[in-house]
């Protein structure tokens, strides 16, 4: 390599003004969001994450049938959305098969979606407090929707005024 190669270094961004930093007073290092320490992660010794992972895949397989079937019946066959009305729903829920279909779909989709969002919250919430609040909100909304949906499927009254 020849020593007289023309080289020029171009400073793209200059660093922050009058330097308050020195070898004795260095700037804080650039930290990633949260650092792993000797004490983290806490051991829980349960199979919760294993079951959660399996549930996502198993419920996913069942949801392919339930959700695609649901969309087909509701939106495509027999005139599409225009047919949907009180009478259409009442007619379907008169049959225990469709009651069971909708019940399974409700529970699986809600638990699947909630567990998926739990993962997302775990990943992206940076402060512990934010994380707890988001999860509390998620679990409340999930429980409310699942319970209300279940109640409606079982207590639906086609003759309601």
């Amino acid at each position: 390599m020849s020593a007289d190669t023309p080289v020029d270094a171009v400073e793209l961004t200059s660093t922050s003004g009058a330097s308050a930093f020195s070898p004795d007073n260095p700037a804080p290092v650039i930290e990633p969001p949260r650092a792993r320490t000797k004490r983290t992660p806490r051991a829980t010794r349960t199979n919760f994450e294993l079951y959660g992972w399996l549930f996502m895949r198993l419920s996913g397989i069942v949801l392919v049938v339930l959700v695609l079937g649901h969309l087909l019946i509701q939106l495509v066959l027999d005139g599409g959305v225009s047919k949907i009305g009180f009478a259409f729903v009442a007619g379907r829920w008169a049959n225990p098969f469709w009651q069971l279909w909708d019940l399974t779909m409700l529970w699986l989709a809600m638990l699947h979606g909630a567990n998926g969002l739990r993962t997302v919250i775990n990943d992206y919430a940076e402060r512990d407090a934010t994380r707890s609040w988001l999860k509390a909100l998620l679990y409340t909304a999930t429980a409310f929707t699942v319970l209300l949906g279940t109640l409606v499927i079982f207590t639906f009254d086609p003759n309601i005024q």
Binding site: L12, S19, F21, I30, P32, R34, R36, T44, E49, L50
Partner: protein, 258 residues
């Protein structure tokens, strides 16, 4: 040059060609620099270099450090892809600077060089590897056995050795772990490298602590956080099938529990 053999003529011609620098090209290395003793900001700095395209990014960094700016800080030791010191983000991908030829990464455009992500930057391209090695230590990457020490070596069939051959190749460069978006998120995930090194012992027929290691990786920040992104497999300079190793640990956990 006096002995006029064909060989000598050829090498003289080659010498002449090389001394004219005709094979050199101008490359721009755009390096992410950070010096906490000067500023709390990191910044991009461009260096224009005359390089042989067959040289490596590490050679370009050396040229900067030795001939232009001696304050440029990076790790390297072996310079031949064995020690795992010089993993860095080159043109947005984690690679070893010593295994990346300039001609393979389009030297016509500026080549960006940054520290690997998800670990605290100490200076320029040097990051704090401690969290990475903590996760490595946590999976107990050493042989654990019960009973008395044998008086001779522990024998193993070649099939049994083959079972974990791929994961023995790891050089702990952290290219995989620092390419994983789950690790970037909160740094609590054990990360692909720790799982690769757990795999190396879990599937070793001589080792007797597979159950303990599986238990560790079964926890909240273990293998179940893996989302099969395959970034780790793409990043590994040793060509280890990292994602496959993680999946094999998941499968071992599931078949043990059911």
């Amino acid at each position: 040059m006096s002995t006029a053999t064909v060989d000598n003529n050829h090498s003289a011609a080659l010498d002449a060609a090389e001394s004219t620098d005709a094979h050199l090209i101008t490359v721009t290395l755009r390096v992410r620099r950070y010096n906490p003793e000067v500023s709390d900001q990191a910044s991009w700095v461009d260096y224009k270099l005359e390089m042989d395209p067959k040289e490596r990014v590490l050679d370009a960094l050396h040229k900067i450090k030795w001939e232009i700016d001696g304050t440029l800080t990076f790790r390297r030791s072996c310079a031949h892809g064995i020690c795992g010191s010089d993993a860095m983000r080159i043109n947005g991908r984690n690679r070893l600077a010593c295994k990346t030829l300039l001609k393979d990464i389009n030297p016509e455009k500026p080549i960006t060089v940054e520290p690997i992500k998800g670990l605290a930057v100490l200076k320029d391209l040097v990051v704090d590897m401690e969290p990475f090695f903590q996760a490595y230590r946590d999976v107990m990457p050493f042989l654990i056995t019960k009973g008395n020490e044998p008086t001779r070596e522990r024998l193993q069939s070649s099939e049994d050795r083959e079972r974990f051959d791929d994961t023995t190749k790891c050089i702990l460069c952290a290219a995989c772990t620092s390419s994983c978006p789950v690790f970037w998120n909160d740094g609590q995930y054990f990360g692909p490298a720790a799982i690769v090194n757990a795999h190396r012992f879990i599937f070793d027929s001589r080792d007797e602590a597979a159950e303990q290691r599986l238990e560790i990786l079964n926890d909240r920040d273990g293998v179940w956080r893996c989302r099969t992104t395959f970034n780790c497999t793409d990043a590994c300079p040793r060509g280890i099938e990292v994602t496959k190793a993680i999946q094999e640990v998941k499968r071992a956990l599931i078949t043990r529990r059911f």
